[in-house]
Subunit: 582 residues, 2 copies
């Protein structure tokens, strides 16, 4: 037996007990005739004391030979601690060591195993097993498992059945982003790894399972933006005999449960706004509503003056920055530079200071008088002391630019409090999205999303106007879940495939099984999928998903610890009937 | 709203209530002026009644137009049922229908949606979504999810943390059986899908996570025997600071919990026998101990007579078949033919009848007198009325053959009761196994398994004799779990790799990260993995894992429903820098 107690367990009630502990040598302190060792395991830290008076000098000698991160087992007696440490639960006691067994030695770790480490991202990833010993990483992993437990608990109690869907499936039309897996038994053929279990969960609904969920790995072979992973985890859900309202209620319930159980936050009900409204008010389909700074559209009050920049713009839109009037001219210039960076892409920024005396001072005083600027303040909701920032241009672009500015300023103003939670539903998403490059429409959510009732006929005349029974759950400016009511009618599904540019043959080859299934009594159904990685990160008050993944990959899709991906043997390739083509 | 209640919910207490139900048309009966429809969903069946007197003849007409598996929504009133059906929970009521809405029509399904269907395996797999509508399949999936819930509940309460390990990893030396995944971003390089998260769970122990588990998909690209799947699910577990005893106790606890919660079966404690003993007593390292028929080794009492077949055999071994003396000569001949089939491979079978009067009648009376045969009965534990079956030959082969016979007879005698549960631990497995073809030893469990203390030196002199801290959990003749105490010392791990035929370079290339990790304070650790598919099947009283998998693949590794694997586009291959080599 390696231990009678763990390192976070001993209290004053254990005093005089003989105990056995095992763990890592976290720190040692040596005062000549006495030495202390902090022994650490997952559960905490216990102070060991070695004392040549009370035990033996040989033991003290041994204590001195223990290096950082050595793994040791000690036998000893729990005693009262002279100078108590109120910062740790075991701080009132220590263990007077009678025997030490070194279970394993350790080289000096490449970075310190402390909450704040001296190791950079790269080295911590290479030695992730050491990184995990640090409290913040360990706590993140434990936190993640706790969220998963609560998800499963809630959904199970609501009658959802967890069903495992296959990982080795078939390549789909979004195939370019599929990871594929050559089959040895089926020459020249490939499986694909699922980007989501979408069709399988729909088939489970056709199969009458009624309420399905799964916490499941999904895969996407795409160029990785800063915070994406080639493999990611979804909470995947589907329900039969439901309308959008049923789904929103069911998963608002789940999200409330998580906020309550995990964060102790009670939220009465989640606001719902349409996609169009979200774009209009926040320039963003995943608005952060922890703070205001809503968009004020200024076309009416700012156009038809002599300022051609605004006159020629499709949209003139501004936000009121709380307290922004305190910015110096230099700071405002820097802000202008910020919006002109290529990542944001604005051509310039107009501002108006809202002075404490009710007057305004704008960068375009030549064109706008005090009365005009008062209207700007009215539309943007600016108060004395605020700064109104105005962008103009093409509607879609300018909204995106102003949204970036809004988020940046909120960040600087400390309005994005990670311990505040502001969920909302964004509904009525467009069914189709125009690919500017190809001029083709593709499904904004996926090809199985149902158009809103009565909008099917618009598909021909005005495809961009068709709205879908599709919804996103947004938390603190992040999409944490998205879903839709699905098409369950074979004819409508065929029409959709046609509009998405599939020939009937392609549709049949790819989704014949789903179309077949729809012939045998498919019920109305819909669902949602949550991104667990992001959900956990946001609930954990952070935004980097990598910190909540045990063994993440880097931006090149590499696991630098195990050094994967890697070349494979020629022989293995041959068995798979493949040749490199480099 | 598609329904106010589900189809399994209504009782007499609902009588006179207006309800809305949705579901599938299971059956219709027409008596002219009145028709009944059984409406089915996941939760049960509710009888609908259409009556031209009480409602309208138009409605009755509509009812007649409903085909099997149509999806309908009905509004109506719960009424007392005239002829009650005590076989279903809703049998005391029916719903007098006032409105029918057909939500979706259905073609006639290719097989009947009944507990006993007329559909063969192939057609059921092709239309798995219809198969899932059948109670036995649906119940199996629900049963599986229930087992998973209990596993998670128990392990969480015992302090295990569920951690997701990566699916895109690195190819291992058992590489030939790895599925590989070409990386688009890393030209000419491949990920592999894990055969198990073995190294990652060990790294989590090095990382101090202390107690890990995961219910996780694993992958093996091998020729599929009847009841294997290319993707399968493991309950994967690992603990730090443990000896074998700790692991056995922890997971005996889990298994007891499952037997108790899922099957209502209480088992005090699981027997433990060594691998050697299992082979000696049952000829099998996963003995079914629901019944006796233990092996009796007869060398001492059957050799050194004039029967050369026995004299020249390494092992003469028999079992007593309860009541087997009632077999006719013809039946015994058939049994002899059975053991001589190539699948079993015995050269012949000797028998001795145990007559009711205490006398014996054997097939080798020429060589053995009554006194000899009495000894056989003594050694095999045969009683009057039994039949002793004896095989002889090479020890390993003859044990396997007699084990096959034992299992076959137990099956025929009805001794393998699927609702009886007899778990046991088999311990002290050999560390290495001789590959007869290559003459090389390979790891019986895996290269990370720790030899028993003090046996390391045997590795050179007598590798086959080295026993490992490795154990299997066996239930009803099936291995449901297996694991080991791992090596946590870098030097010993190097030695192991050397003995398994790795050059130091190969070991470093494949497992450098693990060897590195062992330099930084690896704790003693060990673990176990359960095959969830099989565990669920056995708990469910069945032996075919396919019946407990939502979308299984066939023996060629194909999903016949979605028709995968399948060829992929040339363009996609090109992006992956691959060419077919067929």
């Amino acid at each position: 037996m390696y231990r009678s107690h763990n390192c976070g367990e001993l209290r004053e009630s254990h005093i005089n007990q003989k105990v056995t502990l095992s763990g890592w040598v976290h720190k040692t302190r040596d005062k000549g005739f006495v030495a202390w060792v902090d022994l650490r395991d997952r559960y905490g830290i216990t102070q060991l004391v070695f004392d040549e008076d009370r035990t033996s000098s040989k033991l003290l000698e041994q204590a001195r030979s223990l290096g950082r991160e050595f793994v040791v087992q000690v036998n000893g007696e729990v005693i009262q601690r002279a100078s108590k440490n109120p910062n740790i639960p075991t701080g009132n006691i220590e263990v007077l060591v009678e025997e030490v067994i070194v279970l394993n030695e350790s080289k000096t770790p490449p970075f310190t195993i402390e909450d704040e480490t001296d190791g950079g991202e790269d080295i911590r990833m290479k030695y992730r097993y050491l990184d995990i010993r640090r409290n913040p990483v360990k706590e993140n992993l434990i936190f993640r498992s706790k969220v998963a437990i609560e998800v499963r608990k809630y959904l199970s109690e609501e009658g959802f059945i967890e069903v495992e869907t296959p990982v080795l499936i078939k390549s789909t039309p979004e195939g370019a982003r599929d990871f594929v897996v050559p089959s040895r038994m089926n020459e020249g053929q490939f499986y694909a790894l699922p980007q989501s279990p979408q069709t399988f969960k729909q088939l489970l609904m056709v199969g009458g399972l009624d309420k399905y969920f799964q916490i499941v790995k999904c895969f996407r072979d795409e160029d990785l933006r800063a915070d994406r992973q080639p493999e990611f985890t979804q909470i995947d859900c589907e329900m039969a005999f439901v309308e959008q309202e049923d789904i929103l209620n069911a998963f608002e319930g789940l999200t409330k449960h998580l906020l309550k159980e995990i964060k102790g936050v009670d939220i009465e009900s989640f606001p719902r706004i349409t996609f169009d409204e979200a774009m209009k008010r926040f320039g963003n389909d995943k608005p952060d509503i922890r703070f205001g700074m809503e968009f004020g559209e200024l076309n009416e009050v700012a156009q038809h003056k002599d300022f051609n920049v605004f006159n020629s713009a499709e949209l003139v839109v501004g936000i009121a920055v709380p307290g922004g009037n305190s910015y110096t001219r230099k700071e405002i210039d820097k802000l202008t530079d910020w919006v002109k960076r290529p990542q944001v892409g604005a051509l310039g920024m107009v501002y108006s200071r809202c002075n404490d005396d009710g007057s305004f001072k704008s960068s375009v005083d030549k064109f706008y008088d005090q009365e005009d600027l008062a209207k700007w303040a009215d539309v943007t909701g600016a108060k004395a002391g605020d700064l109104i920032c105005v962008l103009s241009g093409d509607q879609n672009k300018v909204r995106t630019q102003l949204s970036a500015l809004r988020m940046e300023l909120a960040e600087r103003l400390g309005l994005r409090n990670p311990e505040e939670f502001a969920p909302l539903w964004v509904i009525d998403f467009p069914l189709l999205e125009l690919d500017e490059e190809t001029g083709h429409y593709h499904a904004m959510h996926h090809p199985f999303t149902s158009p809103k009732p009565g909008q099917l006929e618009l598909l021909d005349s005005d495809p961009g106007a068709v709205r879908a029974n599709a919804y996103d759950l947004v938390l603190n400016g992040n999409e944490i879940g998205g879903g839709s009511i699905r098409i369950h009618d074979k004819e409508i599904q065929s029409t959709m495939f046609k509009h998405l540019g599939f020939t009937p043959e392609e549709a049949k080859a790819q989704f014949g099984f789903l179309m077949d299934a729809f012939q045998y009594g498919a019920p109305p159904h819909g669902g949602i999928a949550f991104g667990l990685d992001r959900l956990v990160a946001i609930l954990g008050g952070q935004e980097t998903i990598r910190d909540f993944i045990a063994f993440p990959k880097n931006n090149s899709g590499r696991d630098v610890m195990i050094d994967a991906p890697a070349p494979i043997d020629k022989e293995q390739l041959k068995e798979l009937n493949l040749k490199l083509d480099i």
